[in-house]
Subunit: 154 residues, 2 copies
DNA sequence: TTAAGTGCAAATATTTTGCTGTCAC
DNA sequence: GTGACAGCAAAATATTTGCACTTAA
């Protein structure tokens, strides 16, 4: 499964340092788990992976760290936002803030930029008096290469 | 509970009947709660609201009904890419394909329509040769009523 | 009638919290 | 040195399950 967009390693940690937040060994471990994750993880999975690096790490520390990251907008607690309704999963936030389209057949993800999206956001802020914290535009379908070979869509 | 936008009432129930699933008083109550909800509800909220109509209703029944609805794709539905466990929040499935904004403080969801979104989709289809199956545009932030009182995080 | 559904209570699972000793800065 | 943090254990929440009794179809 594709999509290997290199992420700036250590970005989360730098963000925390930039906010004057103390970095501990445990936090470093947890951040690394989240940064290198290839899929969304729930708290238990994060704990399990973190424990491979740091066996003594405690669940409470994981929960507290996730909450910290959420407060600072560095991860999305999907149970907060429920974008999927699935709940209690965590992932880095940045990835989803960029508009992207996912091919339902080959799984490839492409980003796209469009001024229209910014205009839409401006429109919402102005007309609805809504203060936007984040916006996601997500498209699913079939990419050029997969069209034609794409049979059914659920 | 006034829903400004009238949704076809009883649609969930009809869907279940259509699938040959038995309708009980408790299920009818729960479906009504979900259908008339103006925001996303978690299991406890659904239970509380359902209990106003049917005081004896049990949490286990709520959980079992939610699971049933999920299995049949009537609530929450699946996420597009990673399907997984269960969740904390539930909503009618149809809502999510429409552009909406969620207030991070009060949890209220408002839909909005914008021609700009359709234009963006057209743009993607044309320029990227991408066949769109679904598109979601989701905004999180603070609604007019919650602004100001929302400053704090910690 | 009778399989499916409900309530109840107890079992699990998940998340939070109070406290104390420790470590990052 | 000191205030923030981690670990531990216990509490608070949330969800699931076994079983006997009901009920929709």
């Amino acid at each position: 499964m594709p999509t290997s967009k290199t992420r700036e390693s250590g970005a989360l940690q730098r963000a925390l340092v930039g906010k004057g937040i103390r970095i501990t060994r445990q936090r470093r471990t947890i951040l690394a788990v989240i940064e290198t994750a290839t899929q969304r993880l729930d708290a238990a999975q994060i704990l399990r992976k973190a424990a491979r690096t740091d066996p003594g790490i405690d669940r409470a520390t994981v929960y507290r760290t996730l909450k910290l990251l959420q407060r600072h907008g560095l991860v999305d607690g999907l149970d907060l936002l429920h974008e999927t309704g699935e709940g209690h999963f965590y992932e880095r936030r940045a990835e989803r803030d960029r508009p992207h389209m996912t091919c339902l057949r080959c799984g490839r993800v492409q980003e796209f930029g469009s001024k229209l999206i910014d205009r839409t956001k401006g429109h919402v802020e102005r007309d609805c008096h809504f203060y936007i914290v984040f916006a996601r535009f997500e498209i699913g379908g079939y990419c050029a290469a997969c069209q034609g070979s794409a049979a059914k869509m659920r």
